[in-house]
């Protein structure tokens, strides 16, 4: 792997980087597998003992047009039964790699063998071999809507087997088996357009599995799904792994990579790292430089080490927990009394809250940015199903609100009502002093509430970035000078200055989203409503957008954000939890994410932020919402434990220092 010579970092032994340099034919390919073994993978090593790799890419290069090199001298060997996870920023070549492995794209240079057939030799594709290989490879990708070809779930699962010309009774057996595997048996006769994203994606997986592929390629299957949807996909994958299906999983979620046998990290069309998850994630700085992040556990263990805890660096939950437990003897009683003795302010969590609690925390004082009073709404075409029922809350000026709830809980409806795109059946919504029900004020209102829809890049239409961003301000009837000034400010805010004359359709995915958001920001709304703004972005894109949104918030804009991420929601001033069209909880993140609410949040398809879950698992008394709060809490607990145990007061001081 000349190209990936950086991957010598992944392969710590010098001997193995030699075995990777040249791959000619199958013996050489086997050498590549050996390379993976020294990167810490025993499963691949066992396979290498006598079998050929299932998939082999030898010095593969693929270009789009003349100037975009999507894959550059990639060498890869995948053994049968491996579960591989591919990470990388947007544009790193992950999806192209998926297409090559799935047999949908032939490279310009190099040799590709798929499921035992050489389909492309030195850039010369053998289309017949490709046709045969594709029958053994399944592909599932991001948008489930685009993969389902009929309007009945079971007919869709049967589509692939029908193309393989299987006899009817065999098709029936497979449809039933695969729908049961993805837990969609009860929906066999349903219309896919009525299912949630997670359910649709499971149908798509069943459709791929019904062809009994030897390899299943999943290209960001969870990117558009909520927490529960992603969990379902991961469960299906674990089951498949146990049965020996080879899995290539491409994802932006680092936590998901931990379940893999082997992790590949891509950048600019090259494989930079190749090895077991702990091995790959130990290259913290390099990964961050590639626009990736580390799993929560890895970041936590690193942070704890900085704070003087005697824990190993690890990305394994269990290992870290075991290492931590003895250091902070987290007995609740001991901790509580000791903390008081310590004189430290305790984060008290109201523990008496149960059930449908509506707390007053985070409620607005004075002149609110937005109030929602006893609002109900139903869609008239769905047999009068209630989409929202008796929702009330207020948002104070300049604050941030997170709306959480699983698919179908009414989040999107609430957002449409807030943006005056729909009028409540009962109750009223007042935004910036204007009742949304008053039709003649609608225009005025649209100028004051900015609405960033899900996947806002879909709203792009103009010939240039500038024209698109100017659409909103122009509709407001502002003077040309003012429009120009606002567009310039908005583009600067999102970092697209200099791209004014580009076509928005030539921007990268992440930039398209920023351009669309600039179009809303240029209207300089008082209230910014965002519907899952992070969906589908890579870690770098998420961080970038997070920074932009915090700048907007700092400028005094009120922000209301629908999110799937409990960690994101925990950073808001107020959290609103919707479940089955009703307001389940409302309050500050501390109130909503109290450990006592765990079961209830779980029932609503949600959960606690990662830091809170850790604190709970370690038996801490407090409920920190962020990792730094968790580390602070652990330091204090350790200090207290040390003082109680041996009376070493200097240890306690050390702990406080680190906590500060």
């Amino acid at each position: 792997m000349q190209a990936g010579s950086n991957s010598s970092a992944a392969c710590q032994g010098s001997s193995c980087s030699q075995s990777k340099t040249a791959v000619h034919g199958l013996t050489g390919a086997c050498g590549t597998v050996a390379g993976a073994v020294c990167a810490g993978d025993t499963a691949a090593g066992a396979v290498c003992a006598g079998h050929d790799p299932l998939i082999a890419l030898d010095d593969v290069t693929l270009r789009y047009g003349d100037d975009v090199t999507a894959l550059s001298h990639v060498n890869l060997a995948v053994a049968s039964g491996e579960r591989i996870c591919v990470l990388g920023a947007n544009g790193s070549g992950k999806s192209t790699l998926a297409s090559v492995i799935a047999g949908l794209l032939a490279p310009d240079e190099g040799t590709v063998s798929l499921v035992g057939r050489t389909v492309c030799r030195d850039g010369q594709p053998d289309f017949e071999a490709y046709g045969h290989a594709r029958r053994k490879i399944g592909l599932v990708f991001q948008n489930p809507d685009d993969q389902i070809v009929t309007s009945i779930v079971e007919e869709d699962v049967a589509f692939g087997p029908e193309n393989l010309c299987l006899p009817p009774d065999e098709i029936g057996r497979r449809v039933e088996r695969e729908l049961a595997r993805v837990a969609m048996g009860d929906y066999a006769r349903s219309d896919p357009s009525r299912l949630s994203g997670g359910q649709k994606q499971r149908v798509a997986i069943a459709g791929a599995l019904a062809m009994e592929p030897e390899v299943l390629v999943l290209d960001e299957p969870g990117a558009l799904l909520d927490v529960r949807g992603r969990r379902g996909i991961m469960r299906v994958m674990a089951g498949l792994r146990a049965q020996g299906t080879t899995i290539i999983h491409i994802t932006h979620f680092m936590e998901e990579a931990l379940a893999a046998d082997r992790v590949l990290v891509m950048d600019h069309g090259r494989i930079m790292f190749d090895g077991g998850p702990p091995e790959v994630f130990s290259h913290c700085d390099e990964l961050l430089a590639l626009g990736l992040e580390l799993p929560f556990t890895a970041r936590l263990s690193a942070e704890l080490r900085v704070h003087g805890f005697d824990v190993p660096w690890t990305c394994d939950d269990e290992e870290l927990r075991e290492a931590l437990a003895p250091q902070c003897a987290c007995t609740r009683a001991g901790h509580a009394s000791a903390a008081e003795a310590d004189g430290l302010p305790q984060e008290r969590v109201p523990s008496d809250q149960t059930g449908r609690t509506t707390t007053t925390g985070g409620a607005p004082q004075g002149n609110p940015a937005c109030t929602v009073e006893r609002v109900s709404y139903s869609y008239n075409d769905d047999g009068g199903r209630r989409a929202l029922e008796d929702i009330s809350f207020g948002v104070s000026r300049g604050s941030s609100v997170a709306i959480v709830g699983q698919t179908g809980s009414g989040k999107s409806t609430l957002v449409r009502l807030l943006c005056a795109l729909e009028v409540p059946d009962a109750g009223r919504i007042v935004v910036d002093g204007i009742d949304t029900a008053r039709k003649r004020d609608r225009r005025l209102l649209h100028g004051r509430i900015g609405y960033v829809m899900q996947h806002p890049e879909r709203q792009l239409f103009a010939e240039t970035v500038l024209e698109d961003v100017a659409y909103g301000p122009r509709n407001m009837g502002l003077s040309p000078d003012e429009v120009r000034a606002r567009c310039a400010r908005a583009l600067e805010l999102v970092g697209l200055t200099g791209r004014e004359d580009a076509s928005p359709f030539t921007l990268s995915g992440g930039q398209q989203r920023l351009c669309a958001i600039a179009g809303v920001l240029a209207m300089e709304p008082k209230v910014l409503v965002l519907d899952e703004p992070m969906a589908g972005l890579d870690p770098h894109g998420r961080a970038q957008l997070e920074q932009i949104l915090s700048d907007v918030l700092a400028a005094g804009t009120t922000s209301i954000r629908v999110t799937h991420s409990m960690d994101d929601a925990a950073k808001a001033d107020q959290v609103i939890v919707l479940a089955q069209a009703r307001l389940l909880m409302r309050g500050t993140p501390e109130e909503v994410y109290a450990p006592t609410h765990e079961a209830e949040l779980h029932r609503a398809g949600l959960g606690l932020p990662a830091a809170t879950r850790w604190a709970l698992a370690l038996g801490l008394d407090a409920a920190p919402l962020t990792m730094s709060a968790l580390v602070r809490e652990l330091s204090r607990t350790r200090a207290v434990a040390a003082r109680l145990g041996s009376g070493l007061s200097d240890a306690a001081e050390g702990g406080d220092e680190h906590g500060a």
């Binding site: 594709r134 009929t150 795109l421 659409y471």
Partner: protein, 267 residues
């Protein structure tokens, strides 16, 4: 969603209508729909309506569902009815209201034309409600098969038809989302002069076209991945077999058309 269309909204069931061979069903439906144009008398209208309602009962599709799927077209037919009422001038004058004249001819036209078309609409709605898109595609395929000999890509057309049915709800949802986004950016889609409205549609249509292109690209990837090859042989999970009940259905439809014609002689 305001734009949700009812085309292709299959209603799962096991009624006799659901179980009919789609080819027979489509043939019967086309016969019934064409035959509404023979309806010229009250007796015929009554007979056709009675048969259409009987079919609704046999299909076991809830009446509410049938009504909601024919509602948009019934609305258009009501407009047609009003036009007939005001524009047809034959027969005796019943009421005169300044320039507005209602005659026996116009009243009859206002009743007959929409009511007989509703029969056709109900039959079409029942066909779509009781037949899965895959079955429809198969029927379509079978119907066009003779033309394949003259080079018509029958199967591919049927596949396109099936994909169209599948994507109507998806595109409708997307249209709504883009409409929402542009409206909240102050796009005046429902106000102002006609010229302004036409201009205001551009940001929606262009965005929608871009989005549809994206869907098409992804879909082609999905079809490739699932080994669909246009023109290649495929098997069928539920191969079509004409059974006795299918022949009976065809015979009954023929009898229905016969009765309708006989009634026209009586009337």
């Amino acid at each position: 969603m305001a734009l949700k269309l009812s085309i292709g909204q299959y209603w799962p069931g096991t009624s006799l209508l659901h179980r009919l061979d789609p080819r027979a069903k489509v043939a019967c439906a086309i016969l019934m729909m064409v035959s509404v144009f023979f309806i010229r008398s009250l007796a015929q209208l009554g007979f056709a309506w009675a048969c259409a309602l009987a079919l609704v009962l046999v299909s076991r599709v809830p009446l509410r569902k049938v009504l909601s799927s024919i509602k948009p077209i019934v609305f258009m037919l009501t407009l047609l009815s009003v036009c007939n009422l005001l524009l047809v001038k034959t027969g005796d004058v019943l009421v005169q209201f300044g320039p507005l004249v209602i005659t026996t001819g116009s009243a009859w036209a206002a009743l007959l034309y929409p009511l007989r078309l509703v029969v056709a609409v109900i039959v079409a709605a029942l066909l779509l409600l009781t037949t899965t898109p895959t079955e429809l595609t198969d029927a379509f395929d079978a119907g066009l098969a003779p033309l394949a000999r003259f080079g018509l890509p029958a199967h591919e057309l049927a596949m396109v038809f099936s994909l169209m049915l599948r994507f109507i709800p998806t595109i409708a949802d997307e249209t709504q989302a883009i409409l929402d986004a542009q409206t909240s950016r102050g796009g005046a889609l429902a106000e102002g002069s006609p010229l302004r409205r036409v201009k205001a549609v551009v940001p929606v249509v262009v965005a929608l076209l871009a989005s549809s292109t994206r869907h098409a690209n992804n879909l082609s990837r999905a079809l490739d991945a699932r080994c669909y090859v246009g023109g290649a042989a495929r098997s069928h999970w539920h191969p079509l077999h004409m059974e006795r009940r299918d022949w009976v259905a065809l015979a009954m439809t023929a009898a229905y058309v016969g009765c309708l014609l006989a009634l026209s002689l009586v009337g």
